[in-house]
């Protein structure tokens, strides 16, 4: 049977991709941010996942406002990182696992989650940057992926509570798959940042730390906040942090904390990293 080894959280800041491309990771501005990823990189290397499920939000590449699904799952054999108009260099394609993806979709629908299945899916920086930072690769990723997109862009956005629940259902779905796959889940996005309006530039370290601690040991607490409360505290784009709850829900309640790291600001954002391992 498939097994969930653990999960990692990470921001997916566009500038991170450029810093990697331009070889700036050891420059003063970036050094502490990137160095703090190293324990996560090492853990992931040792975890040897067959599949990584990346929970992220699309920023207007694969989805336009004509059709915004609350939750969408990739069911393709290949995912392409295309031009998203942000001056980011596209990286190599990602390999999918259709049979596994479709099993997840079937199980989620059976568990009464109303997902959108995507047999063609371009992935943007929200998906790509965590892969680049955590696998330190540009191609030949050596692992299959399942993109799992959450609408955090256009409200109504699902509640943290719903994200935690679909995470729990995703966990059950994964662990009911008959093949012996080793699965790792990335919960990406956040933490506090606001890019728009006169309040742009907001960073809320206290809230971010509270959120990290909650996600580690008491995810229900963060999940109990309304989206308005999260926006008020973490900014309009900080709402992305609810996606961490999808990852968290899929793991065991007593998953072991392997690593935690926080840095701010990086680009416009408070950036947190967690590595949690199932027992």
């Amino acid at each position: 049977m498939a097994k969930i080894i653990g999960g990692i959280t990470s921001s997916h800041i566009p500038a991170v991709g450029n810093a990697i491309t331009q070889g700036l990771t050891q420059e003063p501005y970036w050094k502490r941010f990137f160095d703090g990823y190293q324990p996560a990189v090492k853990w992931l290397e040792e975890a040897k996942p067959d599949v990584i499920i990346v929970v992220y939000n699309d920023h207007g590449l694969n989805f336009f406002l004509d059709k915004i699904p609350t939750f969408a799952i990739g069911c393709a054999d290949k995912y392409i990182n295309a031009d998203e108009g942000w001056g980011l260099n596209a990286v190599g394609d990602f390999e999918g696992d259709q049979a596994f993806s479709w099993h997840l979709a079937e199980s989620l629908v059976e568990q009464e989650f109303d997902i959108c299945t995507c047999q063609e899916m371009k992935v943007d920086h929200g998906f790509v940057n965590p892969m680049r930072v955590l696998l330190e690769k540009e191609k030949d990723w050596g692992v299959k992926v399942v993109p799992f997109a959450v609408n955090t862009v256009q409200h109504p956005v699902p509640s943290g509570k719903r994200c935690l629940k679909i995470g729990e259902a995703l966990g059950k779905a994964i662990e009911s798959y008959p093949e012996d796959l080793r699965v790792v889940i990335f919960g990406t996005g956040g933490m506090s940042h606001q890019l728009q309006g006169e309040r742009a530039g907001l960073i809320n370290v206290d809230f971010d730390i509270e959120t990290m601690e909650s996600v580690i040991s008491e995810p229900e607490k963060f999940a109990s906040l309304s989206n308005a409360e999260i926006i008020e505290q973490a900014g309009t784009e900080g709402i992305e942090t609810i996606m961490w709850l999808v990852m968290r829900g899929a793991l065991q309640p007593d998953a072991k904390l392997i690593h935690k790291h926080y840095h701010a600001p990086i680009s416009n954002t408070g950036a947190g990293v967690l590595v949690l391992e199932n027992q």
Binding site: R32, D35, G36, P39, H59, G60, L61, F64, L65, A82, D83, E84, G85, W86, G87, V153, Q154, H155, P156, Q194, L195, Q196, G197, E198, R199, A200, G201, L202, I203, N204, V205, D206, I209, E213, S226, N227, A228, I231, E232, G235, T236, E237, L257, H259, K260, H261, Y262, H263, A264, P265, S267, N268, G270, V273
Partner: protein, 133 residues
Amino acid sequence: MVWKTHDYDNIPGTYVFDGKQSSQSYELNKLFYSLNEAGNREALWNDPEAYMANFNLSDEQRDALRNNNFLEVVKKGGNIYYLAKMAIPRGISVQHVGAQFQDITVDDFRQKLEDNAEGFVEKLNKVGGYWNG
């Protein structure tokens, strides 16, 4: 047509991108979305007026684009992620946009970010267990 109010409506300096915002700016964001393609970005730069004419924009939206008035764009329902597709390829970073929202310099905007994060390492140490080099 009665637009309901929301618990996030009155956060200062904050324009939550919801159905009301999105529906008034569908064509505007469609223009931005089209800039995922390099050819369209070029077409916009070469002849902004002709390019804008492909979309059903209001006069105010057109003016906001002409003047790079990003705050107006956001108020009129332009989504910040979509707006970035017009700004970034011209060398206008999201931080430039953020600075313009507040009518401050980019350096001041960056300083504001630093100030907002001030003392985070001490806070991490207080909670304990965080990586610190």
